[in-house]
Subunit: 484 residues, 2 copies
């Protein structure tokens, strides 16, 4: 695509890539046009039908990926602003506080990586607690958990901060991909993936697509999901899963090396980082303030987005990070552009009463009468987990399936809060079913410590375990705190 | 700021920089707090007063620059979202079509640079027309003019595309900074600066801060500035200035070398670029379509922003640029963040009726009765040009002074469209008064071809010339086309 001008011959691979790209683009364009040629279904306005065609174009673009997600959304926004002769509607998503929260949290993640605070925290914990391999598993979980409220890019958190440390630890213990992988490296790698997608849903700020789930929950189930409510709902089932997973993987896929001394690695790592800098100290204070700000949002009436923007502003004013650091955080901009586009589309569909119409159609197609709402939910979530094998990204899954799942839950008269949380949490932990389910998967799996069969097997067992915990302890606990 | 953690001693320069930074931050924080401690003036709501304090904090931040512009705005938005317990109001600017138009145009500029289309165009023109030094001056003006509707970063256009070519041409003619600078390099460098800030106001998309001027025009004078109206108003006075400036500089600051053959350079440059690529061809077509789209916006009812977003979308779909190219366009993101912030604040102030209040206060302080509106305008614009020596950026000048100037024009009962255009255009051509007035200035001046006295002298003469043309031909022409 982006080849220098002097290059004239196109290689065969590139030609193949171009061909598949053209084929994918053709599908993304033809299907929505096909939809527009059909008569508008009864009960739906023309605008809603057109928006649906655009939304399907976006979904196809996200699934087939002829180009990166933000490019897909910019193209869809471009088409729609021309067709609707109005760019304002489609841009509404970019003022959404949801989009800004995830954007700012990305920026905060940059600060955690840049200052070295994340690595320092990991090294300190490893030095203090990581005496045996199982202990190290718990240290990994704990580190990931502590960083997760401010790093919605779990690729940055687990892949960027923690995995390099785990990798060098395994290396120093003589465990490399191949013959020695099972000594310790394989255990820690696959475990880190399961951990990352569990901490990912304990906080709404733990993984970016949670915000899209919350948006759809608001549009379809009319639930108001604050930072604190999400945490309250997730903490009990989530913490159980997080506490069990190091042991579960230890049992299913035992490392050969059971105990060792990790103090050396910790000491060396900390020496490399140098003394605790002013920037790290300031960031630690801001970090605590942000958690406090989010946790007390219900009392102070300061919304989570305001806290996040103020966090970023404070980091800039106090010199923790510079604007130049933020301006090159490609992930933050990409997320901003494509989430903003999806949120704009979803808002448009909601305003055009599309979701109401979908609920009506689904309730006349499915007969949920007399069937228990909770049982329906269980089936819905199980189905949503089965189709996960087809999805190469959590955000694509959320964009495609979550609106449908939430609408089905609505028409089945399932209790709304349990319905929302069961579906939203499963959207996150379901990533572990494959090595491509969550963005951090390829990073960890690609290192080559673990074979695919093992990876998928452990993923399936842990997904099933998480599902059962949420359906039992989760539901019971949510009843206890009055969510249904 | 962004020093690696292992570095412990801070150099003296850095300590000095930190000190001046702290001092600047203190002013940015203390002044707004001082304002908030004063009683709210009669006729103004508390919210408007608080917004004014935030706006003044932003202006001080832009003037003193303790950190880059987007960082200043993010900090202001952070503070205001906490104080107002509401992040939505402050984020409203990010859905503004003004902000998106400049953002997308930045992206288009990236495509023009990346594909080499801009350079190719310049080389072709130089080969065809650039026989003598004066001719080359006109070629430079023509190239800059053609690129200007799609490159609101005139730093990218004049500094990034054209200047490197001019520089290598001067080099090849034996004109380097120092003893040989006057051969041809000095003439072309200072001329390019004057050209860049003239093409900058012929199209609203020619330089980014034009959009802020248009926003203030809409808020204060209630004028509706479309892409086409701006062009119609600017084309006659702007083209006169553009046609005169190569001759004016030639006369004031004659190059020693009057004629030479530039075909060699053109041939070599084109050979380096290779054959006219598919990407460049597609981009050329899209370029023409965009200009057509903007020019026919009044008939098709497709707004300029929709055209720009569709342009970017088409570039992505057709493989002219990739998302990765766009994601690293730092200038686009910086502009997006800080313009969005300023527009959000300006919107807030307008909604809180701040500008109405300012008009009332100014009209009771100044007695404009019996004074001719046009005369007042002439004085206003002259004063605005005099204070330009204090401003190191056009956008800062627009943010600080244009709302005041427009309000004064309003209370003086000057005709609104001439008032708007005289002030908005002067905000652009006024940059040439100093070598730091426009962002491209330091790039060109820094090369060392021209001394400061000459630079300022030529700038002053051309500014005065532009002012006179706008006050005479401009006003007459605007009367002719019914703008007053």
């Amino acid at each position: 695509m982006n080849q220098p001008p002097e290059r004239n011959h196109v290689s065969n691979t590139e030609r193949g890539y171009m061909k598949s790209r053209i084929w994918k683009l053709a599908v993304c364009i033809a299907v929505p046009i096909g939809i527009l040629l059909l008569p508008v279904p009864k009960g739906l306005t023309l605008v809603a039908w057109q928006l649906l065609a655009l939304y399907i174009a976006a979904i196809l673009g996200l699934l087939l990926r002829p180009m990166p997600e933000p490019a897909v959304l910019l193209a869809v926004i471009g088409v729609s602003s021309i067709c609707f002769r109005n760019s304002a509607t489609m841009l509404a998503g970019y003022t959404s506080s949801t989009v800004w929260l995830v954007f700012c949290a990305f920026m905060i993640g940059t600060a955690i990586v840049q200052t070295g605070l994340g690595r320092r925290f990991a090294y300190v914990l490893i030095g203090r607690m990581g005496k045996g391999t199982l202990g190290l598993g718990y240290v990994t979980a704990c580190t990931d958990l502590v960083l997760s409220p401010v790093t919605p890019s779990n690729t940055a958190r687990s892949g960027g901060i923690i995995f390099p440390i785990v990798r060098s630890l395994a290396d120093s213990l003589g465990s490399k991909p191949g013959a020695t992988s099972r000594r310790v490296g394989a255990y820690l790698t696959v475990l880190l993936y399961q951990i990352s997608l569990t901490t990912g849903y304990i906080f709404i700020t733990g993984i970016a697509p949670n915000f899209l789930s919350a948006k759809f929950g608001q549009e379809i189930l009319k639930v108001d999901i604050t930072w604190l409510l999400w945490f309250k709902a997730a903490v009990v089932p989530g913490m159980i899963c997080l506490l069990v997973v190091p042991l579960l993987v230890y049992w299913m896929y035992p490392p050969e090396l059971k105990s060792f001394d990790s103090r050396e690695l910790s000491k060396k790592g900390l020496a490399d980082l140098g003394p605790f800098s002013r920037r790290e100290k300031v960031l630690s204070v801001l970090f605590v303030l942000a958690i406090l700000g989010w946790a007390t949002g219900g009392i102070t009436k300061i919304d989570a987005t305001a806290v996040a923007i103020a966090f970023v502003g404070a980091c800039l004013v106090l010199g923790v990070i510079t604007w130049d650091d933020l301006a090159v955080t490609k992930g933050a901009w990409s997320t901003f552009i494509w989430y903003g586009g999806v949120v704009g589309l979803a808002d448009g569909l909601a305003k055009a009463k599309f979701f109401d119409w979908m609920a009506k159609v689904l309730s006349s197609s499915f007969n949920f009468n007399g069937i228990n709402g909770i049982l329906t939910l269980a089936i819905l979530v199980l189905v949503s987990l089965l189709v996960r094998y087809l999805f190469a990204s959590m955000a694509t899954f959320v964009t495609t399936m979550v609106p449908v799942l939430l609408t089905l839950a609505l028409v089945a008269h399932a209790p709304v809060y349990p319905a929302f949380f069961l579906i939203a949490f499963a959207a996150c932990y379901g990533c572990v079913l494959t090595h491509y389910g969550g963005a951090v998967g390829p990073v960890l799996f690609g290192e080559g410590y673990v074979d695919q069969t093992t990876w998928w097997k452990i993923g399936a067992v842990f997904t099933l375990f998480s599902f059962l915990i949420h359906m039992t302890v989760g539901l019971f606990y949510w009843k206890l705190i009055g969510l249904w």
